[in-house]
């Protein structure tokens, strides 16, 4: 995996709360057997009209969204299904980080394993970001800091091991396999 150290980008804002993974990538697109190409179907039911054309009112279709790598969303982003297709679709579209006041557990874990940064911020920081779409933000994973164009810097929580893996491009499976002797010992010792 490529290391993830810093993301500097303008933001795109989708202010809705409780954006579930069925919105991020509807179930009818889960018949794929690969990870690639899901960016086309990201937010499909919001992004495309009934005739398949792009909905000009949806933010990801507007010119100001082009090239944005940071998605700012309302509270409780990524709730619902465990589909890893959700972070795959966000990454394939070009996003590298998601910012919300709450990020659902399974989505957060799936994101970290794919190099998409789930950034949880306090209410006032979130409010400011929601009110200022398109601003340039600087996310530094080394210091776990989100810096706004105002100069305000906010530390964000991130699980220590996931951060270590991201910074160094380490695949967690490699680490887990390095513990195989412990796993074998555990299996041998268990009486039930």
């Amino acid at each position: 995996m490529e290391p993830v150290i810093r993301v500097r980008s303008k933001t795109v804002v989708i202010p809705s709360t409780n954006i579930d993974t069925d919105q991020i990538i509807p179930a009818r697109f889960l018949t794929t057997t690969v990870k690639d190409g899901l960016g086309l179907q990201l937010f499909a039911d919001w992004r495309y009209l009934k005739d398949g054309s792009r909905n000009p009112d949806f933010v990801l279709n507007r010119p100001e969204a082009r090239g944005a790598q940071v998605l700012v969303a309302g509270r409780n982003f990524g709730c619902g299904s465990s589909r890893e297709h959700a972070p795959w679709a966000l990454l394939d579209f070009g996003f590298r980080a998601v910012i919300s006041t709450e990020i659902a557990d399974i989505f957060r874990g799936n994101s970290l394993k794919n190099g998409l940064l789930p950034i949880v911020v306090d209410d006032s920081t979130s409010r400011w970001l929601l009110d200022h779409p398109g601003v340039e933000v600087d996310i530094d994973l080394k210091s776990a800091t989100l810096t706004l164009p105002t100069g305000a810097a906010h530390r964000f929580p991130i699980e220590a091991f996931a951060r270590h893996c991201l910074l160094n491009g380490i695949d967690e499976l490699g680490f887990l396999r390095s513990r195989l002797s412990d796993i074998e010992r555990y299996e041998a010792a268990r009486a039930w």
Partner: protein, 464 residues
């Protein structure tokens, strides 16, 4: 003094967590299906790794499989090409990696969270994972069961373990007796309504109290199933005599002396008196009523006789009502319905079929309403047919199908059309969940069946 969760967690710690590293947690049972496994098998192929413990891995197909008999058992091919490819790929992967698969025409096939308990594969004190968020269902047996992503499916394939941070504990205390016509589904919808769709984030629920103890295993599974809809990855219930009586005749339950040993061990799992939880909520079962959702997440829920709240200045709330075609202040009772779906890993078990049959016996589905009843497994289908429920359904005008996830998530050909109202016993009323533009109202099987008969949202207590 330890909780049920603490006991199961500790017993599966291969390596305990440190500030720098998560725990290595051993997984007893890995359930897989066709939708979230292909990319994980691809990783194994790329790295040249085997499935480390095929004996702890069980595969079925449920999400993208059709439910029409001619597509499952006849000569009609699966209509959705990509779904057909996914099914074939699971068949190939299971054969190549030596994983036991309940394939399309297997008598034991069904929704992954219905068949594993039916087989007795899910047992108290286990860790159970699956690439599906409703894996929380298995917590009904006192297992620690949670959904994982496809990368983690690969981790379990390769190591039979996962890297996990220890979650916090949350006691959901439900005392008293559920009134007639109020079901396990209403109970869990009320819990979600009370704590919200992210109220359980970072926590594992333990459902406790006299109302929980009084539930059958099918009902306990309904409750645990929807833990994720409150944000909790897992929900557990301490195993007791109800659990043991359910498991004893199951084909994969321990046999003979091993059974006695297992029960003795399982009895030690319950939370110790005085053990503390990180959070808790108290619910009085006697005050509960049949519940119905009115919005686009399961926390937007009301007692069935209630009116949609009037809120001011909440854009997300307004957007949800606009999608649903509802207005603040409207009462839910009497609103027309187009489609009724009874099934899913939430309410696709025999007790749910029995509830639907109880209402539908001697009655007809209202003209213009489509009632789709989909058993959670082929075994449930056979049982419902033997009990005479299927005949009641057909006589009422319902469509009785082969098992699968079906209309819960509309990726298998069973969908609700744009703008239609679907009264559904499934678990998610998200926008588009049952089809593009579909409007889903989550209810119990009683409420679903009663509403199918009247063609309108109906309080089932009028028809019991």
């Amino acid at each position: 003094m330890r909780t049920l969760f603490d006991k199961v967690w500790t017993a599966h710690e291969v390596v305990a967590e440190t500030p720098d590293t998560p725990a290595v947690l051993y997984i007893d049972l890995h359930l897989i299906h066709e939708v979230t496994s292909p990319q994980a098998f691809s990783v194994l192929k790329k790295l040249g790794l085997p499935v480390r413990r095929p004996d702890r891995t069980l595969a079925t197909m449920d999400h993208s499989t059709p439910t029409s008999t001619e597509q499952v058992f006849g000569n009609v091919p699966i209509r959705v090409d990509a779904a057909a490819k996914q099914v074939r790929q699971l068949e190939q992967n299971a054969a190549a990696f030596g994983v036991e698969l309940f394939g399309m025409r297997d008598a034991r096939r069904g929704i992954v969270h219905v068949i594993s308990p039916e087989l007795g594969a899910t047992q108290p004190g286990m860790t159970v994972v699956c690439g599906d968020s409703h894996t929380s269902t298995h917590g009904a047996f006192g297992a620690l069961a949670f959904g994982i992503g496809t990368t983690e499916v690969g981790h379990v394939f390769a190591t039979q373990s996962l890297l996990q941070r220890k979650p916090k504990t949350f006691a959901v205390n439900v005392e008293g007796r559920l009134p007639p016509g109020v079901t396990a589904k209403d109970l869990i919808l009320a819990v979600i309504g009370k704590i919200g769709v992210s109220g359980g984030t970072g926590h594992v629920f333990e459902y406790r109290g006299s109302a929980i103890r009084a539930l059958s295993m099918d009902e306990r599974m309904t409750v645990c199933n929807m833990s994720i809809e409150a944000g909790a990855r897992a929900g557990m219930i301490a195993p007791d005599d109800t659990t043991f009586a359910y498991l004893k005749p199951k084909p994969r339950a321990p046999q003979g002396a091993k059974w006695d040993d297992a029960v003795a061990r399982w009895r030690t799992l319950a939370t110790d008196p005085g053990a503390s939880f990180d959070a808790s909520v108290d619910i009085d079962a006697a005050t509960l009523e049949p519940m119905i959702t009115y919005g686009t997440n399961p926390g937007m829920v009301l007692p069935i006789g209630g009116a949609i709240p009037n809120t001011v200045g909440d854009a997300a709330f307004d957007k949800a009502l606009e999608y649903m075609g509802f207005h603040g202040g409207e009462v839910m009772l009497g609103k027309p319905v187009d489609v009724v779906f009874i099934g899913s890993c939430t309410n696709g078990r025999l007790v749910d079929m029995q509830a639907a049959a109880h209402i539908l016996k001697g009655r007809k589905v209202a003209p213009g309403v489509r009632l789709l009843i989909v058993p959670g497994s082929q075994e449930t289908k056979r049982e419902a047919e033997a009990a005479g429920y299927a005949d009641i359904f057909k006589a009422a005008g319902a469509d009785w199908r082969e098992s699968g996830c079906s209309m819960c998530l509309g990726m298998n050909g069973d969908t609700v059309a744009a703008g239609q109202y679907s009264i559904s016993t499934s678990n998610r009323n998200f926008e588009g969940r049952q089809g593009v533009g579909a409007r889903t109202l989550l209810v119990s099987p009683f409420t679903a069946a009663a509403s199918a008969v009247r063609g309108r949202i109906t309080d089932p207590r009028e028809m019991l």
